[in-house]
C-alpha cells in the first residue's frame, strides 16, 4: 500500500473522556449534556480548549448534533461533521477512522469522536416495537418473535457453534473475563459484582445460546476521544498513542435482507481483517491486548477466530478464562470489563480502554502494551476495527 494511502501513524489520540456511567435510565443529565461533559473531559485530558476542536465524528445515528455541540462549546470553527452509517456499535472504530482520515487529509485539525446515550430519555434498545403492524424487512421476522438484537444474533452464533463444535464454556470464558476485569475498575457498573462459573451456568437463558451474562448491559453516559495529527502527539502530556490502522465495512451482500447473507455465521470481519493488519503492519501475534465488542459473547467468539487469534479447531481449548485475563493471559481481553461489565457506551468505551493500555493507565494493565486493538460491533454491517500503537511501533 503506498504510504500516502495509509493512516498508519498519521493521527494520534491525545485525550479521552467519559462521564460517570449509569444504569439505564438513571442518568441525572439529559443526553446532550452528557455528550458535552464527556467532550470537555476529553479536552481537559488532552490539555486543550474545546474551542480548538474543529470536527466531530460519531456513529449509530447519535442524536447530539455537531453544529449544536460546536455552538455550545464555542468552537472557533467547524470543519468536519461526520456520521458513520449503520446501526449498533459497528461504527465505533469506523468513526475513529473517519476522524483520522479528515485529519490526515487536512480537512480538519482536531476532531472529537464521541457517543452519548441516555436511554431513559429516548427509549431502550433490545425492546420489540409497540406498533400494531409492521412493514418492510421486519414484517418477515418480528411477527415470528424475532425482534431484539439478541434474537437476531443468536441465530448466527447457533449456526457457528454447530458448524465448529463450539461448547457453551467458550462463551462463558468471555463473560467471566469481562466480569473479572470489572472488579479492578471502579468506574465499572459491575464493580463489586463478581461472577463465577456457577453464577454463569445458573443464570437464566435469554435466547439460546445466550445466558443473561452473555448479553451486554444497557447504560446511560457518554464517551469521547480527541484526535490530532500524529506529528503533534509529542506536544501532549500523555504517552503518545498513534492510530496504526482503521477499517470498516462488510463482506459480499452482508446486508441481504431477512438473514440472507451468503456467508451467514460470521462476525462480518473476514474481509476487513487483512486490510486491518496490512495498514498497521502487524499481525495477530503482535497484538498485546484486545478490546472486542460484546453485544453478545458469541460475537466475540467469532471475532477472535476471524481475526486470527485462534484456529477454528482450537476454540474449546483456547477459550478459557485464564487466557483472557490481564496481565499474563495469552490474549488479555476487554480489560475494563467492556460492554458486559464496565458500561455499554455503544463500544466507544472499548476504544478508550485501548488507549489507556498504550498509556499504561488501565486498571487491568498489560505490562508494556505496545499494540492495542479494538473490534467494534460484530455481526452487524458495517463493522469496524482499529489498532493503536505506542511510539515504538512507528
Amino acid at each position: 500500500m503506498p504510504e500516502s494511502r495509509s493512516l498508519r501513524g498519521s493521527v494520534a489520540v491525545v485525550g479521552v473522556g467519559e462521564t460517570p456511567y449509569y444504569k439505564r435510565g438513571e442518568s441525572p443529565d439529559p443526553e446532550f449534556k452528557l455528550a458535552l461533559d464527556a467532550i470537555i473531559r476529553a479536552c481537559e485530558d488532552a490539555g486543550i480548549s474545546p474551542k480548538d476542536v474543529d470536527g466531530f465524528a460519531s456513529f449509530s445515528n447519535d442524536r447530539s448534533d455537531p453544529s449544536r455541540l460546536a455552538a455550545a462549546l464555542g468552537c472557533n470553527e467547524l470543519r468536519f461533521a461526520n456520521m458513520q452509517w449503520g446501526g449498533g456499535g459497528g461504527g465505533g472504530s469506523g468513526a475513529i477512522g473517519n476522524a483520522a482520515a479528515a485529519i490526515a487529509t487536512g480537512m480538519a485539525d482536531c476532531v472529537v469522536v464521541f457517543r452519548a446515550l441516555a436511554q431513559g430519555q429516548f427509549g431502550r434498545f433490545g425492546q420489540g416495537p409497540r406498533r400494531n403492524a409492521i412493514a418492510g424487512e421486519f414484517a418477515h421476522t418480528i411477527p415470528y418473535g424475532l425482534m431484539s438484537p439478541g434474537q437476531m444474533f443468536a441465530m448466527k452464533v447457533q449456526r457457528f457453534m454447530h458448524d465448529h463444535g463450539v461448547e457453551q464454556s467458550a462463551l462463558r470464558a468471555i463473560s467471566l473475563a469481562s466480569y473479572h476485569h470489572a472488579q479492578n475498575n471502579p468506574r465499572a457498573v459491575m464493580h463489586g459484582r463478581p461472577l463465577d462459573e456457577t453464577g454463569y451456568d445458573e443464570s437464566r437463558w435469554i435466547v439460546e445460546p445466550f445466558h443473561l451474562y452473555d448479553c451486554c448491559l444497557e447504560n446511560d453516559g457518554a464517551a469521547a476521544l480527541v484526535l490530532v495529527a500524529g506529528e503533534r502527539a509529542a506536544d501532549f502530556d500523555h504517552p503518545s498513542c498513534y492510530l496504526l490502522s482503521a477499517v470498516a465495512g462488510s463482506h459480499y451482500r452482508a446486508g441481504a435482507p431477512v438473514h440472507n447473507t451468503p456467508d451467514y455465521a460470521t462476525s462480518t470481519f473476514k474481509t476487513l481483517v487483512p486490510r486491518l493488519y496490512e495498514m498497521a503492519e502487524v499481525d495477530s501475534s503482535d497484538v498485546d491486548v484486545l478490546q472486542s465488542y460484546e453485544n453478545f459473547t458469541g460475537g466475540v467468539l467469532m471475532s477472535i477466530v476471524e481475526h486470527g487469534f485462534c484456529a477454528l479447531d482450537e476454540v474449546n481449548d483456547f477459550f478459557k478464562k485464564d487466557n483472557f485475563l490481564a496481565p499474563g493471559g495469552a490474549l488479555p481481553l476487554n480489560t475494563s470489563g467492556g460492554n458486559l461489565a464496565e458500561c455499554y457506551m455503544h463500544g466507544l468505551g472499548l476504544n478508550i480502554e485501548a488507549v489507556r493500555q498504550i498509556r499504561g493507565q488501565s486498571t487491568s494493565q498489560v505490562p508494556d502494551a505496545k499494540v492495542s486493538m479494538v473490534i467494534s460491533g460484530p455481526m452487524v454491517t458495517p463493522v469496524s476495527a482499529c489498532i493503536f500503537g505506542a511510539e515504538e511501533t512507528l
Binding site: 409492521i134 412493514a135 418473535g145 447457533q158 435469554i206 435466547v207
Partner: protein, 146 residues
C-alpha cells in the same frame, strides 16, 4: 386463532407501502409460497428487492417455491422482549433454507413442543397460519418437522 403458535398481540405483517413484497403476502393468504425469481438469469432472490443482485435486471417476478426446505439455524427464545409474549414461555424460531432455490432463506416458527430437540439440516414442511379474523387479516408462514 387458537391455532396460532405465538400469543396474540405482536405486530402483524403488512405489505410494504411501496408494494415490493405485496405478492408474497397475497400468496400466503391463498396457501401459496412464492419468492422472487429473475426472468433474465433465473436466479432466486430473498428478501425482496427491486432488481436482481446477480444480473441487475428488474424483470423480477414472484414464482411458486416448492423446493425442499431445511433448517439452517434456529433459536429457542426464553426472555420475551414484547409484552404480548410475557406469558408465552419458550418458543422456537427457525431460519429455513431452500437449497435448490439458490439457498434463499426465510424466518418462521417451528411448530410443536418448544422444548423439542432441533436439528440443523433437518427437513421441514410449510404450514400456513391464517389470521383471517385479524383486521386487516394476515397469514404467517410456519414450519413443522415431517
Amino acid at each position: 386463532m387458537s391455532s396460532a403458535y405465538l400469543a396474540p398481540g405482536l405486530p402483524a405483517p403488512a405489505p410494504s407501502p411501496d408494494g415490493l413484497d405485496t405478492p408474497y403476502w397475497e400468496a400466503l393468504a391463498a396457501d401459496q409460497l412464492v419468492a422472487q425469481r429473475c426472468a433474465n438469469c433465473q436466479g432466486w432472490q430473498w428478501g425482496p428487492e427491486w432488481i436482481c443482485h446477480r444480473c441487475l435486471s428488474s424483470e423480477l417476478s414472484f414464482e411458486p417455491l416448492d423446493a425442499q426446505a431445511r433448517i439452517y439455524s434456529y433459536e429457542r427464545v426464553w426472555h420475551p422482549v414484547h409484552p404480548a409474549l410475557k406469558d408465552q414461555g419458550p418458543y422456537l424460531v427457525v431460519l429455513v433454507e431452500f437449497p435448490d432455490a439458490d439457498g434463499i432463506r426465510m424466518v418462521g416458527n417451528l411448530l410443536g413442543d418448544p422444548q423439542q430437540e432441533v436439528s440443523i439440516g433437518a427437513d421441514v414442511v410449510r404450514v400456513f397460519e391464517h389470521h383471517r379474523e385479524a383486521d386487516p387479516p394476515f397469514t404467517l408462514l410456519q414450519w413443522r418437522c415431517p
